[in-house]
């Protein structure tokens, strides 16, 4: 069956099997940042944005994303022109192995797009669904707070 999904601003058409998951569709079409961690919706490494909200692509059928807008981390910044969140994560030392990072940054972006000046508690709640085995989360929360200041033009 045919579906249309806007990915990182570009509308694309796909021929899919009914049972295909969104994560597999994305990875097979080059969006390798979307990681398969648990395949059950718990770890958060598969997190993408759908219509601006963070969702789990591993427990979503690709067909559910028909006529929706998907954003992966490939779409928010480049090596030459990184998103302030990407810069902040690097500057604050919030990245170790890197596996959880795409999902973590997208969850943070969804929060900051909706609430440009979050409290630390709100950052924790937004990132609660992204597990990280390396860092202990401290630097990541710091990075999001720093990025939010930058995005508001405060430093």
């Amino acid at each position: 069956m045919k579906i249309k999904i806007t990915i990182n601003g570009t509308e694309r058409e796909f021929e899919i099997k009914g049972s295909e998951k969104l994560i597999d569709l994305l990875r097979e079409n080059g969006y390798k940042s979307v990681k398969k961690g648990c395949g059950e919706g718990f770890c958060g490494s598969c997190t993408v944005l759908m219509d601006g909200k963070s969702v789990r692509s591993c427990i979503m059928l690709a067909a559910q994303a028909h006529k929706r807008e998907i954003v992966t981390i490939e779409g928010i910044g480049t090596l030459d022109n990184p998103h302030p969140l990407q810069t902040a994560f690097v500057d604050e030392g919030a990245v170790q192995c890197g596996f959880c990072i795409p999902g973590m940054i997208l969850s943070a972006k969804a929060l900051l797009d909706e609430k440009p000046k979050p409290t630390e508690e709100e950052v924790r709640e937004a990132l609660d669904g992204n597990l990280c085995r390396c860092t202990g989360y401290v630097k990541q929360i710091q990075a999001v707070m720093k990025a939010s200041e930058k995005m508001r033009g405060e430093n």
Binding site: M1, I3, K17, G18, S19, K21, E40, G41, G44, T47, M50, K53, S54, V55, R56, I59, M60, L61, A63, Q64, H66, K67, S107, E125, A126, D128, G129
Partner: protein, 287 residues
């Protein structure tokens, strides 16, 4: 879902019901999909997406708060209208489910229909006497109280084409207190036991008492004996203790990976105690 071949996107409720009824192959509905997408049921060949029918809303009207069945839990958690119910326990319950990316797609209707032992929202629906609107057929709808809805597994009582469309909460009174306590091993984890209590007070005594217990047994339920004990009496520590003990003795708990039946019984008593005490404190603070 390996034999899934067809996916439909109706934009009217009647259209959705028609599709579910008339397909020659086994057809189910899908909302957030967190339950359906992982399903191993290879007999399902078609899915009907019910998230584009305009059932995503939260509105306060005519003394009720009405929530559309495909409203995501995150939205309920952040809604001012929903927060006005019973000291915010509906929103609190929603926000204690899983994590944000899951709450962004888990719908209220989906949560209550795909009822499992650890499902969260039914507890607050029961203690607040919510009503559930079901589209029975293209032109027929019915409204049933939560208490009747949860007497059996919704998957068994609902026909494949019947869609839950709305959950209706009566607006809670000023002289009242509501509390929700969920015990889980980590934040956002499956509930081991959850308790929802709602008390209305008039002339110094309980005029209405509701005690709902979820996840302790396969189906959520109200402890009516405890409610009868509380009603017409002043809400104080001694009677709360008695009510909590009554709940422990009358709720038949189950063993599962997340807790033994014995542990759950202890939790029932402790959480009912906590929730009722919280109700009492809130009522006293309002005076």
């Amino acid at each position: 879902m390996k034999n899934l071949k067809f996916f439909y996107y109706p934009d009217t409720l009647q259209g959705a019901v028609k599709l579910l009824k008339e397909q020659p192959v086994k057809t189910e509905m899908i909302a957030g999909g967190t339950s359906v997408a992982l399903s191993r049921d290879s007999s399902v060949e078609a899915l009907v997406d019910i998230t584009r029918l305009g059932l995503n809303y939260i509105k306060a009207e005519g003394g009720y708060v009405k929530i559309g069945a495909t409203t995501p839990l995150q939205q309920i958690g952040r809604s001012r209208a929903a927060n006005k119910l019973a000291n915010g326990i509906v929103s609190q319950c929603a926000m204690e489910v899983a994590s944000r990316p899951l709450r962004n797609v888990i719908t209220l209707g989906g949560n209550i229909v795909k009822l499992k032992t650890w499902t969260d929202m039914p507890t607050v629906l029961l203690c607040l006497d919510a009503q559930i609107k079901i589209q029975e057929d293209e032109e027929e709808e019915k409204i049933i109280p939560a208490e009747d809805f949860f007497k059996q597994y919704p998957k068994k009582s609902l026909k494949p084409h019947q869609i839950v469309t709305e959950i209706i909460f009566p607006m809670t009174m000023e002289n009242s207190g509501g509390a929700y306590c969920k015990f889980s091993k980590t934040k956002g984890d499956y509930a081991v036991v959850s308790v929802g209590c709602y008390i209305e007070v008039e002339d110094g005594v309980c005029s209405l008492a509701r005690v709902a217990i979820g996840s302790a047994s396969p189906l959520p339920s109200r402890c009516v004996d405890a409610e009868i004990l509380l009603e017409s009496k002043p809400l104080e520590e001694k009677i709360i203790k008695q009510a909590a003990k009554l709940c422990r003795d009358s709720v038949k708990t189950v063993d599962s990976l997340w807790g033994s039946a014995r542990y759950r019984s202890i939790l029932v008593e402790r959480l009912v105690n906590r929730a009722l005490t919280s109700c009492m404190e809130k009522i006293n603070a309002n005076k």
